[in-house]
Every structure is written in structure tokens, then in C-alpha cells.
């Protein structure tokens, strides 16, 4: 499995040389809002994770990989692992960029240091992982092109489900876990503050550690479901 990850990075190694440079430069456009800065970093990282499937599709190397003595689950899990490595690279670049721009634009009252925090990291990781975990079952089922076209529709459907769950929670607890209205009202104010606020206010009895545990369980479950769906799709895919 690690051989496949190595292969992914090896055959795209030249592509990775200019990436950090462009990542940091592109993020400079979004330094006036922590929310936009975070969103842009998540989207850029997602594009980076797409680069390997896109290169593979362009050169049609999937046929060669399918002829290698590797099991189908290994091919799928390796693709997830590579993406997780890329998300970590994206996170490092995101953090470095925020520190870098905060220091050079100090006089312009730009302070992105708050994203270099536990909450900032969690938000970045959460969204990046969510994008990847939702995209890959589509990619293994439909191929890169079709998956990219259907992904926005899929995201809208997922958002609708989250919105519905939120509505039900509001009815039961009287509290909303979605803060879209507040963010829209004051887009400059970081969503990270809302995030921290929510952690502290959700229930006094729930500690941060428990909250992290719940989040870890949710993401592990989501990862397992996503990987098993992808393995099933890849097994029956025509290569």
C-alpha cells in the first residue's frame, strides 16, 4: 500500500515543486477575511488531492496499476492515504501562510494568527477530510470527470441533510449548531470563534476531550464507510 503512495508522489514529484509557491501566493488574495482564507486553503488543498487522480486519468495509468500484483482494497486505501498526506501538507502550508501574512501585513491590521490554533487546525482538517471522504466514493464509481461534475450536486444534498438534522436539533434542544446566519451577518468575524463558543456552550457537562472523541468517532466512521464504498465501486469498475 505504501508502495502505491510512494508511486503517487514519485510520478508527480515535479508537480509538487511549484505547488507550495502557488498555494501561498493564491492565499494572499484572501487575507482580509479569516473565513475566506480558511475556505480558500481548504479548496486549494482539495484541488491538490485531485491532482493525482487527474494525472492518472490523463495518462491512463490506471490500467497499468490494475495489472500490478496489488489487491483492490490496497489501491483504494493507498489513494486515501496519499490524500491524507496531501491534506497534512496543505495544513502546514495554510498555517505557514497565515503566520507569514500576519507578520508582513501587521500594519494593515491583518491578523490571521487565530487560524494557527487548535480550532483553526480542526476546522481545516474537518472540512478537507469531509471533502475527500465525500468525493472519493464518487471518483471510484464514476471516474474523475463525472465525479467532479456530480460532486457539487452531492455537496448540496449533504448540506440539505445537515440543515435538516440541525432543524430537528433546534426543535429538540432549542440550540442550533449551524451558525450560518451569524457568519453572514459579520463575515470578517472568524467562524473559529463561533466554533470555540459552540464547544464551550454546547453542554457544560461535555468536556473538550469528549467532544474530540465524538468528532474522531464520527470521522473514523465516515472514513470507514467512504473507503468501503470506494472498494466496492473499484472492484466492479472497468479498468
Amino acid at each position: 500500500m505504501l508502495k502505491l503512495c510512494w508511486k503517487d508522489f514519485y510520478i508527480t514529484r515535479f508537480f509538487w515543486i511549484p505547488v507550495p509557491f502557488f498555494f501561498v501566493i493564491l492565499l494572499s488574495t484572501f487575507i482580509f477575511s479569516e473565513l475566506l482564507f480558511l475556505t480558500a486553503a481548504v479548496i486549494l488543498t482539495f484541488i491538490m488531492t485531485l491532482s493525482i487522480p487527474l494525472i492518472e486519468e490523463y495518462y491512463r495509468t490506471e490500467e497499468i496499476i490494475a495489472s500490478f500484483p496489488i489487491s483492490h482494497p490496497s489501491v483504494v486505501i493507498a489513494r486515501y492515504l496519499t490524500s491524507f498526506f496531501i491534506i497534512i501538507i496543505g495544513m502546514i502550508l495554510f498555517m505557514i501562510s497565515s503566520l507569514f501574512y500576519s507578520s508582513i501585513f501587521k500594519e494593515n491590521q491583518i491578523d490571521l494568527k487565530s487560524v494557527v490554533s487548535f480550532e483553526g487546525g480542526m476546522l481545516f482538517l474537518g472540512f478537507s477530510l469531509l471533502f475527500t471522504l465525500l468525493f472519493f466514493p464518487l471518483y471510484f464509481r464514476l471516474g474523475t470527470g463525472k465525479a467532479l461534475f456530480s460532486f457539487p450536486a452531492f455537496l448540496i444534498a449533504v448540506s440539505a441533510v445537515i440543515w435538516l438534522i440541525n432543524k430537528i436539533l433546534v426543535l429538540i434542544t432549542g440550540k442550533s449548531f449551524l451558525l450560518i446566519k451569524n457568519v453572514q451577518a459579520n463575515i470578517i468575524k472568524s467562524p473559529i470563534h463561533y466554533f470555540s463558543e459552540w464547544i464551550l456552550n454546547i453542554n457544560k457537562g461535555i468536556s473538550l476531550a469528549l467532544f474530540i472523541l465524538i468528532l474522531a468517532v464520527v470521522f473514523t466512521g465516515l472514513t470507514l464507510v467512504s473507503i468501503s464504498l470506494s472498494i466496492k465501486s473499484y472492484k466492479f469498475k472497468e479498468k
Binding site: 514519485y10 510520478i11 495518462y59 490500467e63 495489472s67 500484483p69 466492479f236 472497468e238 479498468k239
Partner: protein, 289 residues
């Protein structure tokens, strides 16, 4: 006799094409040539053997093991050549070798570089800069560098010059000499089969019309030519791949004696067919089951 490949009642259905009840056996120590017109199902069959596509029903055993259950083990013993080798064009030949070496425990680096030199594939050149024939040579070098027991090749001689083709066919014959290895390759170049193949399998519209030894094919099959007056519903049943013109007919038979008995006293000639004749008549003529 160990069977390198044993396929029984294999079926695969696409929306516009079906591979029907494919059965064939290839013993170790032999070369099988797969022929048939474009779109007959040769590539699909090769992909099914490699478990690159899922079958609907049937059994495929490679060295006695099911190709789905023992997928990884079987693939490690197969040297595969794709009809259009796709490698990232910006990589160098030696870099592709390095990628392959990670996946085969039997990979022999020296053999790969020796084969590259022998096949005149420049190891420091980028794949983009290679001609189609050189890319095919690279593909062959990659397939031959891990001491595969079973060479599975989809049109490996396409795009190669006649000199290299002949060398390659000789190499195939050398490979199977230890009687443990086997070679299966598809081709449109019938002279390659006449030169090397021990078994010939003809596939047409997803069905195998015959899968027999080359000697058996040339002993049993004949090309029959005669006037149209011979043809009637009864005599037509004797032929395969019947082709009529205003001057007469041409057809194949796999039962020379029956033709002799039924057409005694009639004006016809019987000749030894070439593989080209067989391929042409079976794909263009009327086929009787």
C-alpha cells in the same frame, strides 16, 4: 500436463457486446495466439484473465488457481503487455523501471537494463520522446524483467519492425523451453502465429470459433473453391465462412472427408488454407456453427 490457463464457460456482457461461453486451455510450455477481427473480444478476454474487469459467470484459472480469489499471487506471475502502453510521458525509461520494480518481488534490475539495451530503448530518454514501436519495446522489457511464468500480451508485435518482431518471437520460443512457462498473445499479424504459436484460438463476435493446435488446424482444415452450381442448402452446411461471387465460391471446412464424400464427382479444389484465408473467410463469410 499443467495448465497455465484454463477458462470454462466464461461470460461477460456489455450493453453493446457479449463474450459468450468462452472455454479454452493453454498448457504450460506452449504459446497460444489469439486472433480475430477488431472488436471480437480479444482485449476483453485478456482483461478478464487479469481481473481488470469482472466476469458475469464462468471460471478462469491461472496455474490452477482462480484469478479473482488469487488475484495478487497470479498477477505477480504474469508479465502483461498492453496494446497501447500508457506511461506518464514526462518520466524517463529508467524511472518507469523503478516504479515497476517496487511491485514485483522477482524484479531483476540488471535484466531490465539489459533488455532495454538489447531492444535499443534509451534508458535516459523521456517516454514522450519514444516512438510507438519503442514504447512497445519498453513495455516488453517491463513484462520480461520479473521472470514471469505467464506472458499475457495484447498485440505486442503491433508497430514493431519485422526484424525485431522475428527476434521477439524467437525469444518467446526460448522462454517456454523449460515447459513451466506459457505465452498468450493476441495479434492481427497471422505470419507471427504461423511462425511461433502452438495453439491458435479464433474469436469472432465474442465467441470462440476454434481453439486448437496449429498442426491440427492445418491438418484438419481446408480451403474449398468451386463453382456456385455445387452450392445448395445441404452442401452449404459443410462449409464455414462461405463467400460467394459470380465466378464461384470459397469456403472453409474442418471436415475434409465429409466434403470429399458429399462433393464426389463435382468440380471443386481443396487447398491448405493460410491463417489469412481462415481469418478473412471466418470474419467476412457466412459462418455455420
Amino acid at each position: 500436463m499443467t495448465l497455465a490457463l484454463d477458462i470454462k464457460k466464461l461470460n461477460k456482457k456489455y450493453s453493446d457486446f457479449t463474450l459468450k461461453d468462452i472455454s479454452l486451455q493453454l498448457p504450460s510450455g506452449f504459446i497460444m495466439g489469439l486472433i480475430g477481427p477488431n472488436g471480437a473480444g480479444k482485449t476483453t478476454l485478456i482483461k478478464l484473465i487479469l481481473n481488470m474487469t469482472r466476469r458475469q459467470s464462468g471460471v478462469i484459472k491461472v496455474f490452477g488457481r482462480d484469478n479473482i480469489i488469487h488475484d495478487k499471487e497470479i498477477k505477480s506471475r504474469i508479465g502483461f503487455v498492453h496494446e497501447e502502453p500508457h506511461y506518464p510521458g514526462y518520466l524517463k525509461v529508467k524511472e518507469i523501471g523503478s516504479v515497476f520494480s517496487r511491485f514485483y518481488s522477482n524484479w531483476n534490475k540488471n535484466r531490465f537494463f539489459n533488455l532495454c539495451r538489447e531492444f535499443t530503448v534509451p534508458e535516459n530518454k523521456r517516454i514522450n520522446a519514444l516512438s510507438r514501436g519503442t514504447k512497445m519495446k519498453l513495455s516488453l522489457a517491463l513484462a520480461l524483467s520479473h521472470d514471469a511464468d505467464f506472458l499475457l500480451m495484447d498485440e505486442p508485435t503491433t508497430g514493431l519492425d519485422p526484424v525485431f518482431r522475428r527476434e521477439l518471437l524467437k525469444r518467446f520460443s526460448r522462454i517456454i523451453q523449460d515447459e513451466k512457462k506459457a505465452v498468450l498473445f493476441s495479434t492481427h499479424i497471422t505470419s507471427d502465429l504461423e511462425r511461433t504459436a502452438d495453439y491458435i484460438t479464433y474469436i469472432h463476435q465474442g465467441e470462440i470459433l476454434f481453439s486448437i493446435t496449429k498442426d491440427q488446424l492445418f491438418e484438419e482444415w481446408a480451403l474449398v473453391k468451386g463453382g456456385n452450381e455445387i452450392l445448395n442448402p445441404e452442401t452449404q452446411k459443410l462449409f464455414k465462412g462461405l463467400r460467394k461471387s459470380s465466378y464461384g465460391f470459397k469456403a472453409l471446412t474442418s471436415d475434409k472427408e465429409k466434403v470429399r464424400t458429399n462433393l464426389s464427382g463435382q468440380n471443386y479444389v481443396m487447398e491448405k488454407p493460410s491463417l489469412d484465408d481462415i481469418m478473412f473467410l471466418l470474419s467476412k463469410g457466412e459462418i455455420n456453427a
